[in-house]
Amino acid sequence: MILAVICVVFFGLALLGMPLVWALLFTSVATIWIFGLFYPLEAIFLAYIGSVEPLHLAAIPLFIFAGELMTHGGVGRRLIGFASSLLSFMPGGLGVVTVSACTMFGSVSGSAIADSAAIGSVMIPSMAERGYPRPFAAALIAVAGTIGVLMPLSIPLLVYGFVGNVSIRELLVSGVLPGFMLALGLMLLCVRKGRQLGCDIGGPMPARSEIWTSFKAVLPALGLPAVILGGIMTGTFTPTEAASIAVIYGLVLAVWVYGEVRLQQVPKLMLNSFITSAVVMLVVGATGALSWLITVEQIPAQLAASIQAISANKYVFLLLLNVALILVGIFLEPLPSLILTAPLFIPTGKAFGVDPVHLGLIMVFNLVIGLYTPPVGGTLFVAAKMANVGMVAISRELIPMFAVAILVLLAVTYVEAIPMALVWLTR
């Protein structure tokens, strides 16, 4: 009952365009007021402050800042250079290059929109020039840009770990195989498309020296995920400390090694990253306030009980979860929906015996699909804008890619070993 009121009030306000932070706080206060609950309102505000206070959350602004530095530092262009020297011999080579460049870029930037924008700005024009239809190029960028969010340094996985108190290290590891599966699926589609169109049937293998030159250019950029992951996996530093190292690394790389960012631009980039992160963290805080209320009212337990009344089967729960998250993902961007639903689904999932790491990956994968589900979505917008094509045209090209993503999602959800095998090995 309370959950229903919370949902109605919150979604009502959110769909009417009220910013999410304030809609959440408004919902918390209004719910207490409507039901005449005897909680001191101070508890809500303390939860609001307390949820953004822990120092490990500093990883969020710092990783965003590091990603900004890498994005503006000319990393994208060099990754494309490397990928095309290595892979453009294949049929559909340009598409394959796009997918692999997106995968690599995602693991240095952690952001799907930055990924789509950085790779798309170069690859959409060159695919169009080669003879690919623009809507196809745009659709490919919209989907491939999200692969990075599954790869290590993913900001959504990081946020899920903080919100749900789940091991960041295990979460990051769990995304690797699903990310590669999605990339592989998209590459196969590109190879088929390249053959079909006949505009990109592949060429000779480039000289080894050419591959080596382009590899040397990206080596410093690829060093970042290596250092960060290595450090986190071996326990040398915490994810938060890793974030500060990533910033220093990105700074040196962007300003001195690649020389594409001037030192005077750095404060502006830092300010923008921190404002972006404040927006995210305040939503985290406001959700903290609401989930305090949800917890004291024992709503997750009731929810689990009412789902268990339908079926006690873990897979039925997961199916309901998939469907619910796809619906949520159509309306909301991944990060806020993740922050909103995680406090509800983690305890419920535990009641059904779902590992919180597995659950986190399912949630992120699921919600990220919303980024390119028409009619609204972050990477979809960026790609459509860059390619200058309409939603209907993109949607048609999206269908097979969407099917691939759903197949991988189902595999990741119902075959626990796919995301979890590497986690079990390193546990």
């Binding site: 959110a14 953004v52 120092l55």
Partner: protein
Amino acid sequence: MIDLSVAVLAAALLAVMFANVAARAALNANIAWNTEFGEFVLLWATFLGGAAAARRRAHMRIAEFVEAMPRRIRYAVEVATRLAVVVILAFLVWRGFLLALQTMDQQMTMLGWPVGVQYLAMPAGSALALVFVLHETALVVAGEQPRPDDEITLQLPAE
């Protein structure tokens, strides 16, 4: 002014975090006041950053449905939701300020500063945001349609 404070706090946070790694690597020791100071900085940076975001209208919201509404209904909705934001922000300022006052005589363990100074970040940031939202509300009432600052909104992470 707010932007400058956020930038300075951000730089301080980065310095604190990096100092901790460096100290552990070089001296094999953690800096004792590091966590408290870091949390203090993070809290202020976040709430002031929230105010800066309010000025740029960069807070995450779903605008698609409102924008699709007929003009007169849209006008009413835009005004009403902003008034509701004004109410909740005023509430946050008022209660947050009381909360900060109550905790002024508690001291932080390592730094010895009053806890209230840390908690003041929430009402202070909310008060600044309130000013910006009031300004925006006035614009909306006057029939303008304030646009968000694209530079920030395009950068939202993870999406």
